[in-house]
Amino acid sequence: MTEGNAIEVEGLRFDYPGVRALDNVSFTVACGSVTALVGPNGAGKTTLLRCIAALERPMLGAIRVAGIDVLEEPRACHRRVGFLADSYGLYDALTVRQCLVYAALVHGMDAAAVPQTVEQTAERLEITDKLGTPAGELSRGQRQRVAIGQALMHAPEVLILDEPASGLDPEARHVLARLFTRLQSEGMTLLVSSHILAELDEYSTHMLVLRSGQVIENRPLGGTTLAGSRVRVELATPVVGWHERVRECTGVRLLEADASAGVLLVAGNTLAQASVLKHLIDAGLPVAGFHAERENLHDSYLRTVREGTQP
């Protein structure tokens, strides 16, 4: 196991009758990252997450989570991982407090420490006022938070969430995003699958794209990619052919441009960006905006999937 990887998957294969759901899937997830697992329906996302959570046994391959060989010690993995399935359930007849107490006790928590942990978790999830309410009477967003609370009860090192935001209203989604960011800042590694890319965009640091049971992309998101940084240039007044001046710089590729704006791919660090800016200003262009652009997950995903479909 390489230091700094929370999840390592190698050569994973999973078969359903007549369908190979996962085919030679290998990737790593860095500690403390929030990885968005995206892909079309039927790509094998849920199967992959269930394998990592040691709920399904793959046909072939190796999985290590938090340093544990999942296939050798599935039970040890259960103790280190929190998992929320896409269709999860709560004990509707129990109150939220009972649900959380039960989750704490089945995870082997010391009974004396339970009430305090329950209060803390409830506070963190903003459901303190609902502790006495039966779980069956909660709204969807509240149920979601209670379910996440149950998965968080044993302070897992890795939290795996399958479609956590489906069916939530914008406000509930926002609360969720805030929670994920907070969990990440506390050092937890999150692996989140979702269809709603805009919402993943708020908190993901990495993107893992799965299509037809194969990983087609696994990379960090944000300004810096392997090829360089995306930089958006805006001009105060339109200048026809301004982008010809860009080509004079080394290590810069023009991604898109019209008369008044454009997107460049600048190799290297921020110093390289500064020198490009200097070059443009020296060339007399009315540069009004020049900023590294965090790539939209939606665009990035569509581009990856489109590239993947091309032979």
């Binding site: 078969d15 009758p17 039970r75 991982v81 009972q98 039960y102 082997g108």
Partner: protein, 476 residues
Amino acid sequence: MNPELQRNVWLEFSWHRLVLMPCVLALIFLCAALGTQPDSDVGVTTSGLLLFTGLAGFWGARRAADAVTEEFRGKTWDGQRMSALGPWSMTWGKLVGSTSYAWYGALICLATVAVAWPLRWEYAASLIIACAVCAAVCVQALALIASLMATRKGLVRSYVRGTWLVLLLLVFSGSSTSLVTQLAQTFSWWGHEVEGWRFALGTSVVFAAWAVFGAYRLMCQELQVRTTPWGWAAFVLFLAWYLAGFAVQSSDSEARTIFLIAGLLVSAALTYFMLFTEQTGALVLRRVWVRVQRQEWRRALEEMPCWLVSLALATVFCALLMLTVSQLPGELDDYRNISFTPLPLLALLFLIRDAAIFLVFSLARAPRRVETTTLLYLALLYLILPGVCKLASADTLGALVLPPVFERPVFASGVLGVHAAIALVAALEHRDRTGEGQLVEMPMIEVAASLFRIKRTAGSRGRLDPTPLLAPSAVQ
């Protein structure tokens, strides 16, 4: 406290329910007492035992089955599987917890029975109560097993539960009636005279323990605890040993033969049973095969389905029988004049054929209704085709479908296919070695003769003819 038990108690008990049960039971007992003779306490005891059966047996079994099915339906099962709770805590937490309210009522009934029991039967009272408790535990554990297996097959619809409940009801009523009829008798078991009462108690304790053990092992698998199927193999052996005991009259040398026969029959029966109830299909077999190919023997065993384990045991029993027994023991005089040796092989071949039929249907790309389709084909092979042949007086043809094994000439035809297959392999091997073709003739009479020779030369019991049984003598 076991958290699973605690959760179930939260769900099962409320003040209302706590008060309701004794009140309702008290009223029923009052009715029973008023409805019988003033001095008799039989009415109360009988109704107490009946209520116990209803509460602990049926309702308890239903609750135990729901313990997993409800989790599965409520989609909380994955959460439970991910918990740090061990398989044993989970098993007993569910068994005791989900049935706790049923037991609450059932124990009130038993207490009433114990108090109201006519004094002259005092000894019987403790035995009956102990038997009843064990039988109830057994049925509840079986219900938990059934629901775990159904969940694994993805069957959580209500009719499945209904089917299992009917099955359990049969098991429960069957076992209780057979127990009651045996109670007063003494009989021979492994050559020992045993008292019916004690035996019934021992049996119910042991089978309750096996049922709980089975539920525990299944729970292990559900919780992804790595297990090899030694528990199942041990159960097959135990059941063979237990059943063989009834056939052994006195502990003599025939006991071993009877054990081997019982072993073959039990493992064959359990192979069928597991084939139809276990999760079976291409993937299960491929998982085993992948492990075998990679020489990960322990993992291969972990992935091995129970029907395959029983089939392997059946093969072992078959081999032992063929090697050590040439004639049936004295009890079965009617069959003295036939050779016993090929019979186990025949039984095994039929078993393998039926398993193959099942697998063919389950290997389909999208297997559907595998069990019923297989049952239909088995009925065709075992009942309909032989029936048609018999009615059409085509005995030889019928014998090819289902050999009436205890008629000598026809018996040969059952082995004919095996001879033909081996002869063909021998001929192919000969061609590969020498480049020459072979004429393979397979006259039925020759096969029959080869069997006769075993019979003629084997002579005394227990000795094996040196001529290999399956060597075809007609390869030119």
